[in-house]
């Protein structure tokens, strides 16, 4: 089932939490809503589910407009950040709850619980209470519970936010596999870009209640549509420059620019090369610090116009040879995005 959201708005105490958000999710897609905290992403998700009222705009599920419908009539599955399992019910009763309140017969419920426990790797845990499970298991119970009534749509609010880093990675891979099996249209909210890029078919980036870009992970990494996206995604440098005649000047460096005047040049730490300036060569920058970060090395340097930046290299990169604090280096920017400077 597809989701279509048109001109969605939500105000709280005079402030727009969500202003004019429109997008579409195609049937069977797994889409991430990515943004910093306070960007309104959870509110969008809750408005689609009907847990939050809509101030303006429309929500369509397939060809049915649902924004005025009660939560129960929308048939969406919702997975909460902190699981929200019913703590007084066993795992089995939790999973069966949505079927029971709809009057599904006991043997059908049991069959579905068994099927889901199998699918989720929860076999043998049906009689446990939530308090007796690990974080990862609880999250899978929450997912099983949401899927049990066969929702036309699965919404997940920071689904892996409450588990530790190692389990999170495992759950990510597992959610991706599950989605490839079940094919329920899914939309999940996260503030973790790695998670969004690792799991989703498409990523939508939200900032201050507005949609900045919706694209495939590659599209967002390679062609950030706005300065916000370029700065938000990855480990970046933002350098100030003045551009004219298609070129922005950074000290002695030249970067192609489509706009003229004051600009911000956004360069990822790994889209930038530097090496020791040959004796007698002028070079572009002076190295300040060389920091080993496990399997990578971070080099911090200052351009001749006084702006600092950093770059990252694999630990054994030949480029690092002779790069040391105080030394002069040559710099090459392989890829960059230039945006007109606002303010």
């Amino acid at each position: 089932m597809s989701i279509r959201v048109v001109g969605l708005q939500k105000k709280l105490g005079g402030n727009h939490i969500v202003r004019d958000v429109s997008f579409e999710v195609r049937p069977g897609e797994l889409v991430a809503l990515l943004g910093p905290s306070g960007s309104g992403k959870s509110t969008v998700l809750r408005m689609i589910a009907g847990l939050e009222t809509v101030d303006a705009g429309e929500v369509w599920l397939e060809d049915r407009r649902v924004d005025t419908l009660d939560v129960r009539e929308r048939n969406v599955g919702f997975v909460f950040q902190h699981y929200a399992l019913f703590r007084h019910m066993t795992v089995g009763d939790n999973i069966a709850f949505g079927l029971q309140v709809r009057g599904v017969s006991a043997d059908k419920r049991e069959a579905r619980v068994r099927e889901l426990c199998q699918l989720m790797g929860l076999s043998g845990l049906a009689d446990r209470l939530p308090a007796q499970l690990s974080g990862g298991q609880r999250q899978r119970v929450a997912l099983a519970r949401a899927l049990a009534p066969q929702p036309s749509l699965l919404l997940l609010d920071e689904p892996f936010g409450a588990v530790d880093a190692k389990v999170r990675e495992e759950l990510r891979r597992w959610l991706r596999r599950l989605h490839d099996e079940v094919h329920t249209t899914s939309l999940f909210v996260t503030h973790d870009q790695e998670e969004a890029f690792a799991v989703a078919d498409r990523v939508m980036i939200l900032s201050q209640g507005q949609l900045e870009q919706a694209d495939t992970p590659e599209g967002i990494l390679d062609r950030p549509a706005t300065e916000f996206v370029a700065r938000f995604v990855g480990d970046v440098n933002v350098l100030h420059a003045v551009a004219a005649d298609g070129v922005a000047l950074l000290g002695g460096l030249r970067v192609p620019s489509e706009t003229a005047g004051a600009v911000h040049v956004v360069v990822r730490a790994y889209d930038l090369k530097l090496w020791r300036a040959a004796d007698g060569a002028a070079g572009h920058a002076t190295v300040r610090r060389v920091l080993p970060l496990g399997d990578r090395v971070r080099v911090e340097a200052v351009l001749d116009d006084g702006q600092s930046f950093h770059a990252q290299f694999p630990r054994r990169s030949s480029l690092l040879h002779g790069v040391e604090p105080g030394g002069r280096v040559e710099v090459e920017i392989t890829t960059s995005r230039v945006f007109p400077a606002r303010s």
Binding site: F86, M89, V101
Partner: protein, 266 residues
């Protein structure tokens, strides 16, 4: 920390002399009656009637204050009704107002001398100096227990559990009975046990409002007073020990229930 011996002895002497010794004297006085004497004192018709009256009025007070106390906690914690601070303070009032004064208040409103009491009397309903008065007084003095037991548990319930139930298709009544109420039951039980225990021990308000008619409105603690005044301390001690046994049985039960409720207080 280093133990400080004189402090230990001082505290133990204080608590022992103040609490342990008098209670031991009472148990000894009851024991001095001998087994037959004890049974006779407790099964004297007036004693049985008084104990029975205390038991069933206590049950009624429990049955009424458990739902009302839960509803009040709900209004304070979940609905945040306008004036919930005042409501909360009102619930605490019976903790600070003398229980005797609670009895006086009820007589002032429902007594035969008051306008409302007169109207009720004319309609054939007697509240003050009758059994309904006993129940009203018990309800007033035990009001805080269920509210205070349920409040912290209700406050810790994750609102997302309710939302999860709704997204799974539960109707409001199903959400209430299946999702919201079950986690509250141990706390409601703990509060209910406290209500009952306090009810069978209550004296001040009942000595005013019950009228103390033998076989009609004479509750067990007031019966004990009567026995003391009649110069029968042994009989008084026997019934007292029964009351103490009831409350010592209920105390750990209420503690266990409130531990089960997940609230770390007694």
């Amino acid at each position: 920390m280093k133990p400080f011996a004189p402090l230990r002895w001082l505290v133990l002497a204080w608590v022992g002399a103040l609490v342990l010794l008098p209670l031991a004297a009472t148990v000894a006085a009851a024991g001095a009656l001998g087994f037959r004497g004890l049974v006779d004192a407790v099964t004297a018709p007036a004693a049985v009637e008084a104990l029975w009256l205390s038991a069933w009025t206590g049950c009624i007070a429990t049955l009424i204050n458990v739902p009302f106390g839960t509803a009040i906690a709900w209004m304070i914690v979940r609905w945040r009704v306008a004036g919930h601070r005042w409501l909360s303070a009102l619930v605490d009032l019976p903790l600070s107002i003398p229980t005797l004064v609670v009895g006086i208040l009820l007589v002032a409103l429902y007594g035969p001398a008051s306008p409302l009491g007169g109207v009720l009397e004319a309609a054939g309903v007697r509240v003050a100096y009758a059994r309904p008065g006993i129940v009203l007084a018990l309800l007033a003095v035990t009001l805080p227990f269920v509210v205070r037991a349920v409040e912290p548990v209700l406050a810790e319930l994750d609102p997302a559990e309710e939302e999860a139930a709704v997204t799974l298709g539960a109707r409001p009544a199903q959400v209430f009975w299946r999702v919201l109420l079950p986690p509250l039951l141990p706390a409601m039980g703990a509060g209910g046990v406290q209500v009952f225990a306090r009810s069978v021990a209550e004296f001040g308000s009942l000595s005013v409002v019950s009228g103390n008619i033998l076989g009609e409105t004479l509750v067990a603690p007031v019966y004990v007073l009567g026995e003391v005044e009649a110069g029968n301390p042994g009989g008084a001690a026997a019934v007292s020990v029964v009351l103490l046994a009831v409350s010592l049985t209920l105390h750990p039960l209420s503690r266990a229930l409130s531990r089960a409720a997940g609230a770390g207080h007694v």
